[in-house]
Symmetry: C2
Subunit: 453 residues, 2 copies
């Protein structure tokens, strides 16, 4: 059998693997890097929901190999079935072996499929990232009239919005907690997302558990607890994901709470030459330091940059400082963003907080065409004034506004810092300088805690 050799072997072709490979080549240009992945064609993970409505074809959501090729990263399609840590060799399903100096596990995550949904019925899908699976799923959903999506996290919500755009369908989204997006947003934000989804005809069933699925050969209905049956030609499960750690476990690497591979601040596993990044690696909260089950491509790529930089020598500032969880989405034209702790999570974790609220417009004067209302909520420590989280809904500028908040969090800025910060404003692009939302929030929070002398 072929015996391949590399310096750095990366297992996994998603964003975590790709960026680890590129970052390694950036920092150690003379090292050889090989990336092994399961599939010849790889879907852009965040783009998966948009394969259903917005994108013209599934192929429009392929991740190109150009960035890897530009850095001379060798790409190998195959499945690693075992790793010999002593001999530093990976064994592929094909029988090939790859010798390495450093190994990076970027094996990702896979959908959680609870027992009631493990069924031989046709027409039941989960959001796997395998491109060919998604192509098939898209075809079947196109043909369905009644589509039920189970799980109102952001993937479920985005899929509901997109499948609803595919044509003449009855799309129902079920969520067992009181609101969709409740893991990432406080109630007023969830409600706004629910309003816009409903206004476009998506049926929302929140606060209700699904008992099971039924049908003969194909799925025919989703049964709710209480007995109600929702007709369904297709069902999509978007209940969550768990780290893919089969290989890591086989290798005897330590696993942390929520199932991620245990890593240190430099993304090193319990073995000094083996790293883990992205969905398969443990995540710890930036604020509470507790383990959290957050999985985001943006988090994965930040970890991948740490891993790539530190892989041959520790760069003390290029470390993983804990996961903030920054993400944005767009639901039927409404953009939402969240970063850090929500109010409900902060209270549940015992944080002593004060909030600042801003209700404004994303252009100025407010008479300009194409303006959107922007609602912002920031959360600060009452004691230190430190920013702990932010949530936004509004127009498309929300995508970068939440990143400004994320940057403020990472710099441990306080409400006082934000109150006199310098921002740029423009009539057609932002709120007015007099009402810039982050400043309004900071000032609002300050007034709630500052007792004038």
């Amino acid at each position: 059998m072929d015996k391949l050799t590399t310096d750095v072997l990366v297992i996994g072709g998603g964003p975590a693997g790709v960026i680890t490979a590129i970052s390694t080549k950036n920092t150690y240009p003379n090292k050889r890097v090989m990336l092994v992945r399961r599939d010849a064609r790889v879907a852009v993970p965040c783009g998966i929901p948009y394969m259903f409505g917005t994108l013209a074809s599934a192929e429009d959501n392929l991740m190109g190999d150009a960035p890897l090729k530009a850095k001379n990263v060798e790409i190998k399609v195959g499945i690693v079935v075992a790793v010999d840590q002593a001999r530093k060799q990976a064994l592929l399903e094909s029988g090939e072996e790859i010798a390495f100096e450093k190994l990076v596990l970027a094996t990702g995550s896979k959908p959680i499929i609870p027992k009631p949904f493990r069924t031989p019925l046709k027409g039941v899908y989960a959001v796997y990232k395998d491109f060919e699976y998604l192509v098939e799923m898209r075809k079947r959903i196109q043909e369905a009239r009644h589509v039920v999506i189970i799980g109102g996290g952001f993937i479920g919500v985005e899929l509901a919005d997109e499948i609803n755009k595919m044509g003449d369908k009855v799309v129902t989204l079920t969520e067992m907690t009181d609101h969709i997006l409740q893991q990432s947003f406080d109630e007023e934000f969830c409600q706004r997302a629910e309003e816009v989804l409903r206004s476009d005809g998506v049926q929302l069933r929140t606060g209700v558990k699904v008992a099971g699925l039924g049908g003969k050969e194909r799925v025919e209905y989703v049964e709710l607890e209480g007995g109600e049956k929702l007709p369904a030609d297709a069902v999509v499960l978007s209940i969550g994901a768990r780290p893919t750690t089969d290989l890591a476990e086989k290798m005897g690497l330590q696993i942390a709470e929520f199932g991620g591979i245990k890593v240190d601040e430099f993304m090193r596993t319990s073995h000094p030459d083996i790293f883990a990044v992205g969905d398969c690696a443990e995540k710890r909260c930036f604020f509470s330091r507790k383990h959290i089950p957050i999985m985001l491509a943006s988090t994965a790529t930040a970890e991948a940059r740490s891993a790539g930089s530190n892989i041959y020598s520790v760069k003390s500032l290029e470390m993983n400082k804990g996961t903030i969880g920054v993400y944005s989405t767009r639901v039927n034209g409404l953009s939402l963003g969240t970063a850090g702790l929500t109010e409900s999570k902060a209270l549940a974790e015992g944080f002593d907080i004060v909030t600042g609220i801003s209700d404004g417009i994303d252009k100025h004067p407010g008479t300009l065409p194409n303006k959107s209302k922007v609602h912002v909520k920031l959360l600060f420590s009452r004691f230190s004034g430190t920013l702990l989280g932010g949530q936004v809904y509004g127009g498309d500028s929300v995508g970068e506004l939440i990143n400004t908040i994320a940057l403020a969090i990472q710099n441990k800025m306080s409400m006082v810092d934000l109150d006199t910060i310098q921002f740029g404003t423009h009539p057609l692009l932002t709120a007015a300088p007099t009402t810039y939302p982050l400043i309004v929030c900071a000032s609002d929070a300050l007034q709630k805690v500052y007792v004038p002398n």
Copy 2:
């Protein structure tokens, strides 16, 4: 004559005055605040160019008084002609006197009109902020066929773009330096703005000085150096602005380089109870600490928040840390943003720099509809890695992207900090996590200076 009394007297009704008044009430709710302004109706200053094309009527660009009224700020229309500093009284043109404890000068700026343009010819305008003047100017420009705008700074550029939208006109923009927007952007950004302006039919004449204006009663032409005459039914001067300091000078307050009122970090003038904020106050560069002639509403409101907070007692963190100069604009659909030093300014000031460049797309995958190319350039100190400036062009998300850069500058972030920062990304709202532009720039700069071991 009436004798009025207040605790804090603010002179000026622009953003600096309004925000000082509101910020004072926020921090010292029991103090009375009075704002004196020249005009009954006040234009939103940044919105002035949009009164010409985008807004349906001039009245759509009025600043409302609701925020002042909500905070119980008393509004007084009048002109302060003298201040008795010993007796702490301001004298209005009407003869009324206002007694105060603290005084804030927010008297703004006015257009620079060089000698060749001081003419009795009709049809020649400068960009005054007086609302009634602007209403009249708009009417006359609507009637003109040939409009020449002199001065390609951002007000000139925005006016050219907007007047060009007013209908069947020949709009010419002249600029004596090599490029429009050259004070705020490096060449490649200026060129991009020039391309989009030209593509919509605006005539650009850069690198050429204007010798003078000609005509009988009304202006008929603009004469360039060299003798060429551009036909002109209306001329707009947008050559720059200077601080309005007549009153301050009469009061004997110290004036700094470039004509602004001298202030300390808490916006106090040479008199302990008198503050100055906004365009009328001196500006010092965040990086070089030199005086700079930057005038932006966003800078003004940041200063106003410092002044309001510190007016009765110094809040040591609510200080003015120097002007960064953050601004964005949109030219014929292309958005541009700049923050901090440009490469040309940094080199002229003797900074030892390295740049990072990113060329990407503001959505992902790049096959999504309505995407824009985004070009970003960041400037770092080669030695410390500290971020010194950034420039962006692209779609509308540029408005908030430049604010993320501004926040990174204010936090003195380095290329290493930015390389592993956590951002949120979403297919419809931002670049991909693998190619987020600020990270790509940081990584690019790092690779130029880091010598692998």
